[in-house]
Symmetry: C2
Subunit: 214 residues, 2 copies
Amino acid sequence: MRIQFDQQMERLHVELIRMGSLCEEGIALSAKALQEKNPAFLQRIAAVEVEIDDKEREIEDLCMRLILQQQPVARDLRFISAAMKMISDMERIGDQAADIADLAPYIVENNSQSKVHIGDMALATVKMVTDSVEAFVKTDAGLAEQVIAADDEVDGLFNQIKEELMQLIYSREIDAKASMDLLMAAKYFERIGDHAVNIAEWVEFSISGQHRKL
Amino acid sequence: MRIQFDQQMERLHVELIRMGSLCEEGIALSAKALQEKNPAFLQRIAAVEVEIDDKEREIEDLCMRLILQQQPVARDLRFISAAMKMISDMERIGDQAADIADLAPYIVENNSQSKVHIGDMALATVKMVTDSVEAFVKTDAGLAEQVIAADDEVDGLFNQIKEELMQLIYSREIDAKASMDLLMAAKYFERIGDHAVNIAEWVEFSISGQHRKL
């Protein structure tokens, strides 16, 4: 029984790492799609989103089986509950990466992405997602802490981009649709940053048993 | 044991209904805040958001205890799993209602809400949330179906508002910041509609055991 439990916990760990890597790939692709018009990026993001959704259900089933069959307690139960929360944040990161990719072609056609700091925001958010997954893989509370701190920078970039877009609208230097699409893309990146923070907070919780928001 | 189980399941049902009512109140208030500048609305929304977050944790604990202590199977386990999913959608509805309320004062100051169909979108979304909760309370698969169908209307209104905002920007008939804030508010309503659809799909799942997306 205990051996089977350890095997299932190991598998849960491996599947979470895989799902995290898919999120990293999705958001990295969405950042690329905002720099260069390339249908291959969009096709790959669509595939990644499907893989992420499948992975979420797979991990959910695994967690439910673990809880029902193995009656975990204390730290193990904490880890499984954290896993069930993390996967819904990861699933939304996949959705939002796909949403950004949908907006990208029109933005790039107008070369509007070059007029605001959306590239910086993309880079900062990709790093938050990568670090949050890394913090989980290495159970690194310090790195989780850094992800949570990095969110202020991303929120600041969102406000900056909003200001830049307003100025471009006033001065008629941007296509109106592109300005709306860029605002939405920036908002999606900001939300992805929030989900990376949630993941980092669940990493902290599974390590310490303390959740800063609870 | 069975009596205790029935009591806990009954309590889960009651708490979910309470959380649903809080969501209805939150979004109804956010719709009002977009029509009239009134600090009382904003204070109440902030309080509702806190109540919703507390309720989510309370219900989550109850579900975990039910699963661990009572080893539910089949329909009961299905209902508990659906409950755990529904509450995260409800929690996000609360967040987004608060996000809309944050944007409302500047929009109303400029009376920009009257220039686009945001009021219609608010009404349609409030109805989706109310109906999704109602469908759960009455285990009404037909009503759940209607909620899912209503999402097309809300998505259509979002695109309409985006078009209206673009025209207002071209013709300089709207404040640039208000136009951005209105686009964000419309997006939050659209997301709330998506969460109402998720709730309706979990209602269907807990009734039929079939999830249309799985």
